[in-house]
Each structure stands twice: as structure tokens, then as C-alpha cells.
Symmetry: C2
Subunit: 346 residues, 2 copies
């Protein structure tokens, strides 16, 4: 079917060439036939659905044509653009930071959850529950200026390695999703991240890794305080949560930050369901896609019964609405970028 689509596209180009000047279209038809912008995707229903949608909303003269400015696409981050196991990477960052800051906090040796973190006793850390997580987030994410925090994140993201794969975290982004982001942008889409993760944690590297500039990264955020320090203004990160960008929060964030409804939305868990509902409820052609983690060999396998990142109500909605559900196992030729790709991203 993909081959027939390609043939159809080639036929269209040849038809266009016969109607106008022959030289330019002939050259571009060769380019199109040679390079597949979604080369990391296997031919199948998911890839076809993506290409079909993009063709319908961007094709000149298409009855479902959408103007460039209105081509807004929103992507969840954890589990959609990069991995999120064994726990979301921002929490692994917080644990690394507790270890790095420990020499300045001798009292942590006898204070939970820090003592357990330093001992590597994850069972006790987990037992401290939400209170423990909040305490860990507070000491690692707040009480400093936004610029100081950004510097810490930049250093961590370029050096820290995943406990199971030994890879840099930015080498655990999904190659097919990088291709998809680029494909959409090359077709006039503006791509946004709309993530439950912290906005100040994602921005320092989202530009380099995903090609998404800071102003198109939306996430959860803590309160900030403006103050003058030695005559210079700074913004201090406070330990109070300001906005939680998850579930019902995602359409709210899209409305307050972007101010227009996406025509395409991409997620992987129930936390993304409302974003996909919001995107698909607009008029005209819409697209919604869930990444299904069903590849225990190359990545992780989890869905309806996962404790942290459940894909259950979202899956039911996808089936009922006919949304695209990507099988990482069947639809993706590769999961992570090869070493060469990583270099080329820098």
C-alpha cells in the first residue's frame, strides 16, 4: 500500500510536470522517490495513516487543506518522544542531584528520603510516597534562580547515563518520532511539546534534540518569584506547584499557551487522553496517535496495568474513535537513533 501511495505521488508529479515547465518538477520527483521522510517506520497502517493525514491537510487543492499557521501539532514527551522507564527521567535526574548535593548536606545521612537515596535503597524511597517525591523535587528543583537550574540540567543531560541501557538520556529518544517531527515541520507544521514534565527541565535540550524551541515547549511548572539581587533581576524557583500539565491540564495549557487547537496530537498514556480529545473535536480533518509500548526486547512493554504510566482509557478511546495506535514492535524499524544519528543531531 505504501508502495502504491508512492506510485500515486509520482504519478501526480508527472501529471503536474506535463501541465507546466518540465525541468523543475522532474528533478524534485527524483528526490521524492529516493528519500522517505519516515524511513524509520515500517510500511503499515500507522505510517499510511500519518502520510494520508499530512497529504490531505497540505495538498494544494485538497478539500481538507489547512493553512500553514493553523498546522499545530502537540506531542507528549515522556513515553512519546523518549523513554520513561524504570521511572520518568526527570526523577532519575532528581536522584542524581541528591547524590551530587549530598556533600553540602551532611544532615541528609540521617534524614529520609535522602538517606535512602544515598544508600541506594529504592524500596524505602518508594515507601516515602508522594511526600518523599515532593521533598526530593523541592531540594533539587527549587531555591535557585532559573538560570542556575538551567545550567545544572544542561550539565546532567550531556553526561548522565541511564541505569539500565548505559546510554545518554538524549540517546533514548525515539528515532521514528524524530523523523515524524521533522516530517511535520517540513510540511509547514509548528510542533509543540505538551508534557507533564517540568518545563524548565525540558527546555535546555529540547531545541538540540527535538528541534523544538523553548517557546514551543509547554510543561508543568513551579511558582517563580521576581526579585532584585545586587541590582540585577532574577527569577527564583519556589517549591510551590504552579501548574500541572497532565490530563485535563493539557487542553487548558494548550488554550492558555498556544491559543489555538492542534489539528494533530500525539501521546502514549491516559494522561494524554484529554489532549487527543481536544485536538480531534475541532472541525475539519484531525489526527490523533498513541504510541503503544509493546516491545520488551528493544524498549519496554507496558499498558493497561502499569502503575505509573497507564495506557487503558486512552486505548479504549483510540479503538472507539479510530485513532492510530502505534505498535513499537511492528511499526518501528528502529527505536533509538544509531550512534551516527546521535552525532548528526548535535
Amino acid at each position: 500500500m505504501m508502495a502504491s501511495l508512492k506510485r500515486g505521488f509520482l504519478a501526480f508529479l508527472l501529471f503536474a510536470a506535463s501541465c507546466s515547465d518540465l525541468s523543475a518538477p522532474k528533478r524534485s520527483s527524483v528526490t521524492v522517490a529516493q528519500s522517505d521522510p519516515l524511513a524509520s517506520w515500517n510500511d503499515g497502517a500507522s505510517k499510511r495513516a500519518i502520510v494520508n493525514f499530512v497529504t490531505r491537510v497540505t495538498g494544494k487543492g485538497s478539500p481538507e487543506f489547512v493553512a500553514v499557521g493553523e498546522r499545530i501539532a502537540t506531542f507528549d514527551n515522556d513515553g512519546t518522544l523518549w523513554a520513561e522507564k524504570p521511572i520518568p527521567f526527570q526523577l532519575l535526574f532528581a536522584l542524581d542531584r541528591v547524590r551530587a548535593l549530598a556533600p553540602m548536606h551532611p544532615e541528609w545521612k540521617s534524614k529520609e528520603p535522602f538517606a535512602a537515596v544515598l544508600r541506594g535503597d529504592m524500596t524505602t524511597v518508594a515507601a516515602t510516597g508522594e511526600k518523599g517525591v515532593l521533598a526530593t523535587m523541592a531540594v533539587t528543583h527549587t531555591g535557585m534562580t532559573t538560570e542556575e537550574f538551567s545550567t545544572v540540567v544542561e550539565e546532567w543531560i550531556t553526561t548522565a547515563r541511564h541505569p539500565q541501557t548505559g546510554r545518554l538520556y538524549t540517546a533514548m529518544v525515539y528515532k521514528p518520532m524524530l523523523d515524524l517531527l521533522a516530517y511535520l515541520r517540513n510540511n509547514g507544521f509548528k510542533t509543540f511539546i505538551v508534557s507533564g514534565g517540568g518545563v524548565e527541565f525540558m527546555r535546555p535540550w529540547a531545541g538540540k534534540v527535538y528541534g523544538v524551541p523553548p517557546e514551543q515547549v509547554i510543561g508543568s511548572s513551579g511558582k517563580l518569584k521576581f526579585e532584585m539581587r545586587e541590582g540585577k533581576p532574577v527569577l527564583i524557583k519556589l517549591p510551590q506547584l504552579d501548574f500541572m500539565d497532565d490530563k485535563e491540564g493539557k487542553p487548558v495549557a494548550i488554550q492558555t499557551r498556544i491559543g489555538r487547537r492542534p489539528i494533530a496530537a500525539f501521546g502514549n498514556s491516559d494522561g494524554d487522553l484529554q489532549m487527543l480529545q481536544w485536538a480531534t473535536a475541532g472541525s475539519g480533518r484531525r489526527f490523533a496517535l498513541f504510541v503503544h509500548h509493546d516491545d520488551a526486547t528493544r524498549e519496554y512493554a507496558y499498558d493497561r496495568k502499569d502503575k505509573l504510566q497507564q495506557f487503558n482509557k486512552g486505548w479504549d478511546a483510540a479503538i472507539a474513535q479510530g485513532w492510530t495506535v502505534v505498535s513499537m514492535k511492528d511499526d518501528w524499524k528502529a527505536v533509538y537513533p544509531s550512534r551516527d544519528d546521535q552525532v548528526s543531531q548535535k
Copy 2:
């Protein structure tokens, strides 16, 4: 001085032409000499400061060159991009809405502040103070979906007229600031609005009038509630304030929404001071500008002692820091667009 700058620019182009192919630069040098992107500005210190800044941060090989993605400029709206007297236009919108909704609310005839609004008794309206304003805002701005509100704003902005000038409100934008927005964008800047006004009030028309798309409009906002109505998701505007985008709130909004520090910021009152401080505290060449309302003949004259929009601390800071203070009277050839310009904006 402006003339000498132009001569310098022409000399540069002629020099460039002598180094390479002669045909193209020759043509563009003629264009430059003929059209001034800031034609609505009188030659003077303000205009020179703007052109000097843009030249320094965009000139190839300039030691103060700033990459395109980092060329962020933020603009206040009320009093900076359009007029704000006798009261901010969003409040005039609210009063118009009370009158329009009155037939559905017979009880308003005996309930303040609505009764006073309907009688046109502004003294009594003013006497209801903050409580009265909040009550008026609540009945006119909340309890409906975001899409319903947007439709109401669009209808009002294309039909309602200012009580003193009889102009459409969008005909009370400042022509020199429209030129400035376009000049910056043509030089690779991304222009943002960062206003104390409501974000949902500005977005429906900011694209058409200012060329600023919804995702680059930042403002104050109320809380939103996501809910399903007959199987379709909607966002309901609630009467609780979520974020006040004024004073210290402006740098906070810039950080949470844009995520990078502007290199240029534009305002007109003390509510913009922190935004200008934030923008100018970054490294490299920076630019800050206040519009001073000193033209009682063509617009309004108010500054240090104004009750609603004071320009006092900001003015002191501008003098101390050497920021640009625009005299509307002396620096602007025209204040509002001519009828022809208005047509061309549509």
C-alpha cells in the same frame, strides 16, 4: 543624522557591490534609498536608537550579532500598541457587554454596578471600586466556553466604536508601532505581546491587526475548566483569576511562556518596568523603550500622576539606565493609521 546613517548604508551597499556581482546589490540599494521601514517616525534620537540597535544585533560580522532564534522582542499592549484612555478598552468592552446582555438579566435594573452601567452613571460605577469591576468582568468574561467568548470578542472588535474618537478600536493602534513590529520581524525578530490585558480578549484580533499569532500573545488569564458536553470537550471560563500579567508577573510570564529572555522590550507605564529590567539584564546588546504619552492634541497626555496608568518609576529608571523614551508628540509623524492603512491591514 538619520540622513547620514542612510548615506552610510548606501556606501556599504556600493562597497559590497564592488566586491561581488554588480547587478543584484545595485537594484536593492535603490529600493533601500526609496523606502524607509520606519517612515512614520520622525528623524530623531528615538528612531536612531532603534535602527542602531537592530543594525548592531543583525549586521553580518557585527561583534554584537544575535542569532535569529534569539531575537525575541516583547511588547506591552495597552498604551504601547494601542490607546488606553479614558479606560483600558477591555473595560469598555465589558461595559458594552453589560448593555448587550441586559435584556436577558432584568434583575440588573436594580443591582449595582449593573444598574449604574445601564443608566450610564459612571460616577456610581467608579464608586463600586474593585468589587464592581470584578463583578462586571465575571458576568461578561466567564461562565461560557472559550470559543463562545472568542466569537463575542470578534463581533465587538469589528463593530464597536470608541466613545471619544468614534473610531473602531483597531483604528486606535499606533501606526509607528505597527511599523516597528514589521521592521523587527523583517529583521528576523519574533515579536510577542506581553500584556496585563486578558489573553482571550487579545488573541481573536492580534493576528490581523499586529501580525502576532495567538501563540505569541501572552496576557492575564482566568482559570479554565475542561469538561465533556454531549460527548464533546469544552473549556469553560471560570471567574477565578489564574495569572495576572503585570509588573513582576511580566518576567515570570516571559520565563514560563517563552523560556528565553527578550533582547528588546517595549512598554509605556510602571507595569512594564520589570519586563524592561529583565530584558536589559541579559548579556550582549539589549534595547528598552517606553512610549511617553505627551500628545494631548493627537492622543492623550499623562505620565507621573495618572491614576490608572502611571509612568513614574519607569521614567526614572529609563533616565538612569539610558533607555529610549519616545515622545509621541515629537517622534511620531502620525499616531493612528490613516484610513488607507486600515484597509491595507485587513
